[in-house]
């Protein structure tokens, strides 16, 4: 049974099979060299950012500053998660900022001004997002309207609606004692919950990893080997434990970021392990091939746009709870570009068919670290915009170069 040559997927002698930890490392290096960068840009980016900003201002790496950073990252991160969905199809949504602003205005008007229960107001805002997304999908499907034009029109229209809603007052303050504002400003996981959250992923990884391995062995397929699994899980757990320990030196891990992470995990599962997710990648890779396989390309598009705008709306609610207000400035400025840049920096391709939900989380930490560091240096927003713009440009260049390299190495 364990004889490698007998296994179904090990019959071809031309293929090098990487066994064990050394093999896994070698495969990783091969992938990176052929342009499959994975998490590499994020890690390099974070190291550079940490070194630069902590030498300029040591407060940058202080635990409480990092806690604030995570608080700030959750809203943009959720918006960026939606962007991943549309980018996977090779589409774009430029109205996410306006959508998040409109959604915060909706919550303010419905909840604070009209007295609708808070939960209902939040649901209403997310529903409004879903409807806007469906409209974009409809325009794309029926009129073949390029999504960047449709959503550019949406950017202005939604901003107009936001201003209209807030018109008389200009901004609405959310009550400080409410659960929503507490969630966005002070709710922190108890230490034991945060440590549990750090250990759980590794444990689950080993549990499901061993289960899959057993099934593969039963089916006469090769598997990566226990040493690799344990090494990966060990590294992950050690890393997470260190992060949580460090954050707990300050205030601790924000619930807001925890909830955002749960959304990332849910979308990651949906993209990698369900038929819907497979169809998303197929439509992004080759829409005509997907159609001929019997996939309803139109429905997939509708779902992606609806999900994107809904997540943008929820991100708007998070942002409002963070600022304890719904204002005319919400969702304007660099929100759009930050969310798109986060997805691209995290490794989701602008050209469609490549990416993952985790790219939103990793990318948003990079983007938020830059923004946080620049704020600590007391730089005006003019400089911050310029630097964020440059970072987005670099991320897109890296994406394009990696794509070209992958094409040369015979990888999609």
């Amino acid at each position: 049974m364990s004889d490698a040559s007998q296994q179904l997927d090990r019959a071809d002698s031309r293929v090098r099979h990487d066994e064990g930890i050394a093999g896994a490392l070698r495969a990783l290096i091969d992938r990176v060299r052929s342009g499959d960068l994975g998490m590499l840009p994020v890690i390099v980016g974070l190291i550079v950012i940490s070194v630069v900003f902590s030498t300029l201002n040591p407060v940058f790496l202080a635990p409480n500053n990092l806690v604030n950073l995570l608080f700030d990252a959750a809203a943009i991160g959720l918006i960026s998660l939606g962007v991943v969905c549309v980018l996977l199809l090779g589409e774009i949504d430029l109205s996410i900022g306006s959508m998040s602003g409109l959604s915060s205005a909706l919550v303010g008007v419905l909840w604070v001004n009209s007295g609708v229960p808070m939960i209902v107001a939040v649901f209403g805002a997310v529903l409004a997002g879903a409807l806007v997304g469906l409209l974009y999908g409809f325009l794309r499907n029926k009129f073949e309207m390029p999504s960047f034009v449709a959503t550019l029109a949406g950017l202005l229209a939604l901003l107009g609606m936001q201003l209209y809603l807030l018109g008389s007052t200009g901004s609405i303050n959310l009550p400080y004692t409410s659960a929503l504002v507490k969630f966005g400003q002070i709710l922190i996981m108890p230490d034991w919950v945060s440590y549990l959250a750090a250990i759980l992923p590794g444990v689950l990884m080993v549990f499901f990893g061993l289960k899959t391995m057993a099934r593969r062995r039963e089916a006469n397929l090769s598997s990566a080997g226990r040493s690799v699994l344990f090494a990966k899980a060990g590294l992950l757990t050690a890393g997470l434990l260190f992060c949580v320990y460090y954050l707990n030196l300050g205030r601790g891990l924000p619930w807001m970021f925890g909830v955002f992470t749960l959304f990332v995990i849910a979308l990651d599962y949906a993209l990698r392990r369900t038929k819907w997710g497979r169809s998303m990648f197929a439509v992004g890779g080759n829409a005509e091939a997907a159609r001929r396989s019997g996939i309803s390309v139109q429905k997939i598009r509708l779902s992606a746009f609806a999900l994107c705008s809904s997540l943008a709306a929820l991100g708007g609610v998070f942002a409002a709870s963070r600022l304890a207000s719904a204002s005319q400035q919400a969702g304007t400025g660099d929100v759009n570009l930050n969310a798109i840049a986060a997805a691209v920096i995290g490794g989701t391709s602008l050209f469609g068919g490549r990416g993952s939900a985790w790219s939103a989380l990793l990318g948003v930490i990079v983007i938020q670290a830059i923004s946080n560091g620049l704020t600590l240096l007391n730089l005006s927003s003019s400089l911050r915009y310029m630097i964020t713009g440059a970072v987005l440009a670099i991320a897109v260049i890296v994406d394009s170069l990696a794509r070209r390299s992958r094409a040369r190495h015979g990888r999609a």
Binding site: V15, K275, G284, G285
Partner: protein, 259 residues
């Protein structure tokens, strides 16, 4: 479904692209356990006809009967559900997905928790049946050669156990051994009682496996032949004249040989 039963019946099928009539009044019958070859020159409408049957294009006129029932093939999904599987000339594979994902695209096992192990096992079994040489089913299609992609496309058409398989130039990109494998496969599929529609420019392949040879010319039927028909007759039907560039070339060669 017994051998010889009529599965697919086309009457008066036409397809227009704007001012261009790609197909006009096409008649075609496909029976269970029969290989029908569709031959014709470039632009004769073979691929268009295949795409109409695959639900990719909708005909502008005419009727399509499936097992005696009139059907409308309004989407590729409908055609697949009825049991019409197609290997397109451009293969229609997603380069960013691996072999397993491509084979099962649109028909994944367990839609809410994809069963990767079972899909991978079936992928290997299917590819071994085709004597395919695919190094790894977990590599993206982009890393495969033309012939390997062709095999993946053929394997995918067999996955759903269809009643009719349509192959558009299936051997164009294949090596000697694999061409023979595909021809064997076509016969195996036929012997299982399925209908096969084969498009090929290679008359040798066509004669080797076809029970009937349907000739299209300029978007119209131009006769039905058997594999006993002489090469000249077939070429004449395809080009539309006994006096054509192929026969002229043959005559010239013969003259040169005798001179």
């Amino acid at each position: 479904m017994n051998k010889g039963d009529l599965i697919l019946k086309l009457r008066g099928v036409s397809k227009q692209f704007g001012a261009v009539t790609a197909l006009q009044d096409i008649e075609l019958d496909v029976h269970a356990g029969e290989v029908v070859a569709l031959v014709g020159d470039n632009g004769a409408g073979k691929s268009t006809l295949i795409k109409v049957l695959a639900g990719v294009h909708q005909p502008t006129a005419g009727t399509i009967e499936w097992c005696g029932q009139p059907v409308s093939l309004d989407s590729p999904g409908t055609a697949l559900e009825l049991g019409i599987a197609t290997v397109f000339q451009d293969l229609a594979l997603c380069e960013n997905l691996d072999v397993v994902s491509n084979l099962f695209l649109g028909h994944e096992i367990d839609p809410w928790a994809l069963d990767e192990v079972q899909m991978e096992v079936r992928a290997w079994t299917l590819l071994q049946e085709l004597a395919a040489r695919i190094p790894s089913v977990r590599e993206p299609i982009a890393s495969l050669s033309g012939g390997q992609r062709q095999t993946v496309a053929i394997a995918r058409s067999l996955l759903l156990d269809p009643k009719i398989i349509m192959l558009d130039e299936p051997t164009a990109a294949l090596g000697v051994a694999q061409t023979a494998e595909v021809l064997n496969l076509i016969e195996r599929v036929r012997d299982r009682g399925h209908g096969v529609i084969l498009i090929s420019h290679n008359m040798e392949d066509v004669r080797a496996v076809a029970d009937r040879i349907v000739v299209l010319r300029l978007g119209q039927n131009n006769g039905v032949f058997t594999n006993e028909t002489s090469h000249q007759e077939l070429v004449a039907a395809i080009t539309g004249a006994a006096e054509n560039s192929v026969s002229k070339r043959m005559a010239r060669k013969q003259e040169e040989a005798s001179a």
